[in-house]
């Protein structure tokens, strides 16, 4: 049954309404139920649209923030890591080297920051209305695409200004984004769910994001790490994503397949584990939020 058969006076021939049994559940019930997600698809779109509209409303610079953040980091990193500390950049101009990494990183970090708060920030909704809760963190990940798109365009413009012509490796970008979104959704879903019970998450996140920034080869190349540790470090999915982005946008010669492969596997594990945890605790959100 759905709403397609609505008439203005409520006398349309409705299909026989289906009966839902509401009962205590255990195990996996909702998140991974395609039927539920499909039924609420309009809401998913509305939430993503809301997140996009609201993000830069009443800001002076608007969507420019999407690029100011990574560019700001790029300037600081170029000065201190590139110039002062003389960190290697695999033979690339350091500014480009760091920007190609900062573009995906900014998306990831912002998704974590906003996504982990998404359920709590919408507590009035969660406490009063039923909808698949996963839409809240997922909506943040989806809304971030606008920023990511804007900053990718700028990144390519700068790449061209430097006289670098991207290779066919560019075609791998969607896969890299997919790995990043999978890892991001898994981690964000889990964190937003924990946040419902324990607001400690709020204090952990900014700190964890900084740690994660330096644990990923953003200011430095992963080639500084010797094998097998280098490949092993790609258990952090951002290692494969970041090195992959450099390869795909800057046209470096060697494809970091090993890193991407390990990171993809790790992202998949994070996604499944994160969603599984979310699903397990989702039913108690309204009791605790």
């Amino acid at each position: 049954m759905n709403a397609d058969a609505v008439s203005p006076h409520g006398e349309a021939v409705r299909p026989v309404p289906e009966t839902t049994r509401l009962k205590p559940t255990s195990g996996f019930s909702r998140v991974l139920s395609p039927h539920e997600l499909w039924r609420y698809r309009d809401l998913a779109l509305q939430i993503a649209a809301r997140d996009i509209t609201v993000r830069y409303r009443q800001t002076a610079l608007g969507a420019a923030w999407a690029i100011l953040q990574p560019v700001g980091f790029m300037v600081v990193f170029s000065l201190f890591f590139g110039r002062v500390a003389g960190v290697s950049s695999d033979g690339l101009p350091y500014a480009l080297f760091s920007l190609a990494a900062l573009v995906p990183w900014t998306y990831f970090a912002n998704s974590l920051l906003l996504g982990s708060e998404s359920l709590v920030a919408n507590s009035a909704l969660v406490a009063k209305i039923y909808f698949p809760r996963i839409f809240m963190p997922a909506g943040v990940l989806a809304a971030g695409f606008v920023d990511l798109g804007v900053s990718l365009v700028i990144l390519f413009a700068i790449v061209l200004i430097y006289g670098i012509v991207p290779t066919a490796a560019v075609l791998m970008l969607p896969l890299l984004v997919l790995i990043m979104v999978a890892a991001g959704l898994g981690v964000t879903a889990a964190l937003s769910a924990v946040n419902v019970r324990y607001r400690d998450v709020r204090y952990v996140i900014p700190f964890a994001i900084q740690m994660w920034l330096f644990a990923s080869p953003i200011a430095y190349p992963s080639s500084l790490i010797s094998e097998p540790w280098r490949t092993l470090s790609a258990i952090n999915p951002m290692v494969g994503v970041v090195e992959g982005f450099r390869w795909a946008t800057l046209g470096t010669a060697d494809a970091p397949w090993a890193l991407i492969g390990v990171s993809a596997a790790s992202a998949l594990v994070l996604l499944v584990a994160g969603l599984a945890y979310f699903d397990r605790v989702e039913r108690s959100f309204a009791d605790y939020i």
Binding site: P8, P24, D42, V54, A127, I129
Partner: protein, 418 residues
């Protein structure tokens, strides 16, 4: 089976006390609580039925509601009305039993939930509609109707944060009222907007009820329930105690209210859940100016309401809401809205007094709801803390009408006739 909209069987919902009691916990709290063991739980004392540290908000509830029935849920605070609605609207899961719900459910639980202040009225209609379960096409089809009902045409493209509270409430109600689910759950939302809008909302609800939709209403306003519902279900401590035509259920509710007011107020379990409990309402009574009988006063003479509490706290404030027997509010007396005649008396002890000069009420029966504040927090709250009768008297030199008068209040007035 075909004509059954909702069927619950042995439905129960329990809450763990302690962490969830007020707000949220932190990891540290839960570690400390575990360490403190049962002592930690003692501190989490709550007032309903206890079973260890579990509170049963709803217990073994079996109810069948046919399609097209309009049912009013009646009961004290904490009787389980809202919990039942929350289960039916799928916000929380039952702990035991099940509920079979046939058809799409729409809930009007609290007006304005899901409005985003930065979005415009237009954007919010679509967002809020989707949140309430409407399809985009459906909202588009009814968009003009919604906007016209809310009377906000001119402000459609203004962010909702610039709306007056009346405007946003009207818009929110309009969206919700234009839902077309087979089953509509309505929780205390009709008292929004100004009087004209309230009448309009009531009319809309009437329309919904008459359109053959299944509706469940929760309201403290018994007159509204009486007007809209055929059947009344009285809940007490999570169980059904009366399931009858609405008038019978209301009568039975009024009887339980009076019984509760008659007993020891400290034993009441239906207290305001926001209360901090540092001071509790112990006794409430109203007396005629020169002493006289408790809980019987005379129209046009001074009446004194006395609220005895367990503890005198700093910054104590008190609000008395007088209702008629149908639950219609008549007047609110609020010490926080102060006047030069008010005063604080350190000698008074753990009690609060409120004097009404020339009591302007028509003869009849009334009840008083009490809300107690102290230390800038809500400390306690009780509905129907006291019932009283107003005897006929003289208001501003004019005898109160004995019978046949409409309304609840008497105004001092003067005629000029030809």
């Amino acid at each position: 089976m075909a004509n059954v909209a909702i069927k619950t069987n042995g439905l129960g919902k329990s809450y763990q006390l302690g962490l969830s009691r007020r707000g949220y916990g932190t990891l540290r709290e839960s570690i400390v609580d575990t360490a403190k063991g049962s002592f930690g739980r003692l501190a989490g004392r709550r007032r309903e039925q206890h079973e260890g540290d579990t509170l049963w908000a709803l217990r073994d509830l079996s109810l069948t509601i046919e399609r097209g029935e309009v049912v009013g849920l009646i009961g004290h605070n904490g009787a389980g009305k809202s919990t039942l609605l929350k289960i039916l609207s799928r916000i929380v899961e039952p702990t035991t039993g099940y509920a079979d719900v046939t058809g799409r459910t729409g809930a009007l639980l609290e007006v304005g939930t899901g409005f985003h202040p930065e979005l415009t009225g237009r954007e919010n209609v679509f967002l809020n509609g989707a949140i309430l379960g409407m399809r985009r096409a459906e909202i588009r089809a009814r968009f003009d109707e919604i906007v016209a009902f809310a009377e906000i045409e001119r402000f459609l493209d203004t962010p909702v944060k610039r709306y007056s509270s009346g405007m946003s409430v009207r818009l929110a109600f309009a969206v919700a009222a234009h839902l077309e689910p087979e089953i509509l759950l309505v929780d205390e939302v009709l008292a929004v907007g100004d009087a004209a809008f309230q009448r309009k909302s009531l009319g809309k609800m009437n329309e919904v009820a008459e359109a053959g939709r299944t509706v469940i209403f929760v309201s403290h306003n018994l007159a509204i329930l009486q007007a809209l519902c055929q059947r009344g279900v009285l809940l007490e401590r999570g169980r059904v105690v009366t399931d009858a035509p609405v008038n019978e259920a209301i009568d039975s509710y009024l009887r339980t209210l009076e019984r509760a007011a008659g007993g020891d107020l400290l034993e009441r379990t239906d207290r305001d859940s926001r209360g901090y409990d540092e001071s509790l309402i112990k006794r409430v009574e109203i007396r005629d100016g020169d002493g006289g009988l408790a809980d019987t006063v005379v129209a046009g003479r001074a009446a004194t309401v006395t609220v005895e509490v367990t503890e005198a706290l700093p910054m104590m404030e008190c609000r008395l809401a007088i209702h008629n027997t149908l639950g219609h509010p008549v007047a609110t007396l609020d010490s926080e809205v102060s006047a030069p005649v008010d005063g604080r008396d350190p000698e008074i002890g753990a009690r609060i007094e409120c004097v009404v000069e020339d009591l302007p009420l028509l003869p009849g029966r009334y009840r008083i709801d009490v809300l107690l504040k102290g230390k800038r927090q809500i400390q306690d709250g009780l509905q129907a803390a006291c019932f009283f009768d107003v005897e006929p008297g003289v208001v501003a030199d004019r005898p109160t009408p004995i019978a046949g008068a409409d309304g609840d209040v008497v105004l001092a007035h003067r005629w000029r006739l030809p």
